[in-house]
């Protein structure tokens, strides 16, 4: 009886070792399936997202992932973004990164999703997410601080009694946060702040041209990168001698160049590379059931004087190998 038992144990050992050997030498070599990660932007093209994309491309080189960028047909179209999110939540992707236009619009879809896939909410700060759901990560910019610092930068130029025109798109979470910060920093000044909202029937181009033509203010502020670029281009092309100063949030090569040329006077630069890299990393970590702490992406005010500072140039001009 005992002999039989020993033989059975030995036989099981032999089978285990053979299976182990075969598994290790043959099957382990099979590559793991690539993870599908969808990224839903809030714009029409990836271009506005390019620095975030640099970070995403970087992590893509390191990990076995497939990235699917999903843009809107019209910038800041909330309904479209919501529908796209719904589609992705019902699809077969492994994680979703989304830069929400208005979180309230998609909140229900995200929080009550049937498939418990990781969702990474980018750019906008959603306080309620920080403790609520372990499978939803928030990687925001500190938008209020961005607005506040931009206000400080304007003040540091000695502008305490100016007409500031803030060109603003309505009901976009991160814009609202930046606006709050900006207003707070201007409390102690006599600056007259006028918020100009986009007329639905008009483009920003005509509105901005009108401002320059009529010299309606001393300073133009935009909390949106694409709008900042548009304003700068209008000034460069048509109103190069205008005394109206331009400040804004967001950066790309044109904005940097415009800063160097003095067309733009200052802007807030966020480490968008980190946003992209950490966003995807959070998605992968959650898929692999690892812990990922919420992070807030740092920002810095860049002007003509400090843009080539050692630290700033490393962030301003991402070093893409």
């Amino acid at each position: 009886m005992r002999r039989r038992r020993v033989l059975i144990i030995a036989f099981v050992l032999a089978i285990i070792s053979v299976v182990f050997f075969i598994n290790e030498t043959i099957f382990v070599r099979e590559e793991k399936k690539a993870l599908n990660i969808s990224i839903i932007t809030r714009g029409e093209k990836v271009g506005s997202f390019s620095r975030v994309k640099n970070g995403i491309d970087r992590i893509k080189e390191e990990k076995n992932i497939k990235i699917n960028f999903i843009n809107l047909s019209e910038k800041n179209n909330k309904e479209e973004q919501r529908n796209l999110l719904k589609e992705e939540l019902e699809g077969d992707c492994d994680a979703i990164l989304i830069s929400p236009i208005e979180y309230g619009k998609i909140k229900k879809d995200v929080e009550e999703r049937k498939r418990n896939i990781p969702v990474i909410v980018l750019e906008t700060n959603i306080d309620e997410l920080n403790e609520k759901n372990s499978n939803i990560i928030n990687i925001p910019y500190d938008n209020k601080k961005i607005g506040y610092k931009l206000g400080d930068e304007i003040m540091s130029r000695g502008h305490f009694n100016k007409n500031i025109l803030v060109l603003i798109d309505e009901n976009i979470d991160y814009i609202e946060e930046r606006k709050d910060g900006f207003l707070e920093s201007n409390k102690s000044t006599n600056n007259n702040i006028e918020f100009i909202k986009k007329d639905k029937n008009k483009s920003w181009i005509s509105e901005v041209q009108n401002i320059f033509q009529k010299n309606r203010g001393d300073i133009i502020v935009s909390f949106d990168m694409e709008l900042l670029e548009q304003i700068a281009k209008i000034k460069e092309e048509n109103f190069e001698d205008s005394k109206i100063e331009i400040y804004g949030v967001g950066t790309n090569d044109y904005i940097i160049s415009a800063l160097e040329k003095g067309i733009i006077n200052g802007f807030s630069m966020q480490n968008e590379f980190n946003m992209g890299y950490l966003g995807v990393k959070a998605g992968i970590d959650l898929i692999e059931k690892k812990e990922f702490q919420n992070v807030v992406i740092d920002s810095k005010i860049i002007n003509n004087e400090n843009m080539y500072y050692d630290y700033n140039q490393k962030i301003l001009f991402p070093f893409i190998n």
Binding site: L7, S17, F20, F21, F317, P318
Partner: protein, 603 residues
């Protein structure tokens, strides 16, 4: 405390060891030795292998760094040659107020454009004098403020290589910014016959450097980076991650390392760092190979080792089982036989198999068992004979006195011419002795035994002139059960002599035979004087009897005979009350007389 634990565990081990069978001891010992041996060999091989791999990796890393250094040196020398060519073939030969050096610059640029971003010449004041291909310098270029410019001015005789930076000298029409490493040197510029100092700048792009480094990966996670003398990173495959604080590098420490292989622990990761200093620049090429790559990079070997160990263990277990069984089986068989022997099982077949020692042992035990059986049989025969002798001796105590007294009574009756009673008495005596003899049998039926008692009572009743009466109340079914000869009569005799002899009234004796469960009981009850407890207790322990009275058999004799034949649980029980009477009970098993006859016959 530790001592107590040690003692306890030692004791426990010994206890377990003592409980183990010989096969288990052999198997466990073999397996332990095998496992220990395998582990020892495995560990030794593993460490040796790891050490060898480590040495190989280090050697390989050194070679790779040599190669990178060579390529980097070529690349930098090429850049220096570009600088030299522009200087010696263009700047030095020409009066820049009258001629330009655009041709020299363009030719060199086109020839090396994969590695170059721009070439330009500055006056000592930082004014741009010539450049290719980006000709439009910024309005407020501020070249003098740059480190590369100052170094060139301050150390005229050398080439100076900068750390990576964004080149911000030119207007970029396509908004394109380049990370460059600047090679600057001091040059002499001739303008209108006047020689001034100037700075020649050659901006190298990263493509060339990156190519040199990216192609030389020594393992999956290894990488090579480049730092300057102060540890500032010039090239790193994860440069932007480091710039963005997403990753850290041990570059400042690496700057302190001498050329060669170093083991370090950085951010909880063991790694092998190989350093090589590039000749002219003093830059350091650093290769980092994580230790886990060295160890787990050879997964197949590890798997192969594990497989071999598992497989060898499997073989060893099988061999252990067979060997231990081969050794232990004959011993176990022998032990089983000895166990049977202990349990008094006769005719055991002791197997004589196994090694010579075990065979010898088996033979010895077999002969011993045989000898023992003979001895045992002899003892049984002797004991039986002894028992029979004892029984006979006890029965032999009956006769003389009783015969003498009875015959005396008969004589006395004949003298008194009481012929009728004397005839009855002689008849009863004859029957009495016939049953007493019973052809030499010791065991007779209860019926015969009671018949014998009746004869005795007949005799005694005559002798005592009907001073007592008696009655037999016997269940039919007990009559054929076996009884030892002459056990009832002594009880009756006792009842007559001690119960009724001194009585005033008529005595009554009842003999009651009955069966209860598997036993048979014969009670002899008298209504005599009864007895004290001390007397009652002594009856079964001593041969106290009055000489000359009765048949000569005491109750102790009867009790002993019953116990001797039927076993200790049977015998006599005496119940007595003073002035009330006595009940003496015979307790025997219900055994059919035929079975006794068979048994006796077999004997």
């Amino acid at each position: 405390m530790r001592c107590a634990v040690k003692k306890f565990s030692k004791g426990k081990i010994r206890e377990i060891y003592e409980k183990l069978s010989i096969q288990q001891v052999i198997s466990i010992a073999f397996t332990l030795v095998a496992v220990f041996g395998m582990l020892l060999i495995g560990t030794t091989l593993y460490f040796r292998y790891t050490k060898e791999i480590e040495d190989k990796v280090s050697e390989n890393n050194v070679q790779v760094l040599e190669q990178i250094n060579l390529n980097l040196d070529n690349y930098l020398r090429k850049m220096m040659r570009v600088s030299d060519t522009v200087y010696y073939r263009g700047i030095k030969k020409k009066d820049l107020a009258k001629e330009d050096i655009d041709l020299e610059m363009s030719l060199l640029y086109e020839e090396n454009k994969e590695s170059l971003v721009s070439i330009c010449l500055f006056s000592e004041e930082g004014e741009g004098l010539a450049s290719y291909p980006l000709r439009e310098l910024k309005k407020d270029v501020g070249a003098r403020g740059n480190k590369w410019f100052q170094e060139a001015i301050n150390k005229k005789e050398n080439f100076h290589f900068s750390t990576p930076h964004i080149q911000n000298l030119y207007e970029y029409h396509q908004n394109k910014y380049n990370w460059v490493v600047s090679l600057s040197r001091s040059v002499e510029i001739t303008r209108d016959g006047q020689v001034d100092q100037g700075v020649l700048l050659v901006d190298m792009n990263f493509l060339g450097i990156e190519r040199i480094f990216s192609k030389n990966k020594t393992s999956k996670n290894s990488y090579t980076y480049l730092i300057n003398k102060d540890g500032e990173i010039i090239y790193h495959p994860r440069q932007q991650l480091i710039y963005s604080d997403l990753e850290k590098e041990n570059n400042l420490k690496a700057a302190e390392y001498d050329d060669g292989v170093h083991k370090e622990k950085f951010l909880n990761e063991e790694r092998v760092t190989t350093v090589k200093t590039a000749g002219y620049t003093g830059w350091k090429i650093v290769n980092v190979t994580p230790m886990k790559d060295i160890i787990s990079g050879h997964r197949e070997i590890n798997v192969f080792f594990s497989f071999i160990i598992f497989f060898t263990l499997f073989l060893l277990i099988i061999i252990n089982v067979f060997v231990s069984q081969k050794i232990a089986y004959p011993i176990k068989k022998l032990e089983k036989s000895v166990r049977k022997l202990e349990k008094d099982i006769k005719d055991i077949d002791i197997e004589i198999k196994g090694s010579s020692e075990v065979k010898h042992l088996g033979k010895a035990i077999k002969s011993m068992a045989k000898q023992m059986n003979i001895l045992m049989d002899n003892i049984v025969v002797e004991q039986e004979a002894k028992r029979k002798n004892e029984l006979n001796a006890l029965q032999a105590q009956i006769n003389p006195h009783f015969l003498y007294n009875t015959l005396d009574s008969i004589i006395w009756m004949i003298e008194k011419e009481n012929y009728e009673d004397s005839i009855i008495m002689v008849g009863a005596l004859a029957k009495f002795f016939r049953i007493s003899l019973s052809k030499g049998k010791n065991i007779i039926t209860i019926e015969n035994e009671l018949e014998h008692a009746k004869n005795y009572l007949t005799i005694q009743k005559i002798r005592y002139k009907n001073k007592f009466s008696y009655e037999f109340k016997i269940e039919e079914e007990v009559k054929n059960f076996a009884s030892i000869k002459l056990i009832v009569q002594p009880l009756i005799e006792n009842a007559i002599f001690h119960g009724m002899e001194d009585m005033d009234g008529d005595g009554e004796i009842l003999i009651h035979g009955y069966k209860k469960e598997t036993d048979v009981y014969i009670d002899v009850i008298d209504n005599g004087m009864g007895m004290l407890d001390e007397v009652r207790e002594s009856l079964l322990t001593s041969y106290s009897k009055e000489k000359g009275k009765g048949s000569g058999i005491g109750l102790k004799n009867v009790n002993e005979r019953i116990k001797l034949y039927f076993g200790e649980m049977y015998g006599l029980e005496i119940y007595s009350e003073l002035d009330e009477g006595t009940r003496v009970r015979i307790h025997m098993p219900c055994i059919d007389i035929e079975k006794i006859d068979e048994r006796e016959f077999k004997k």
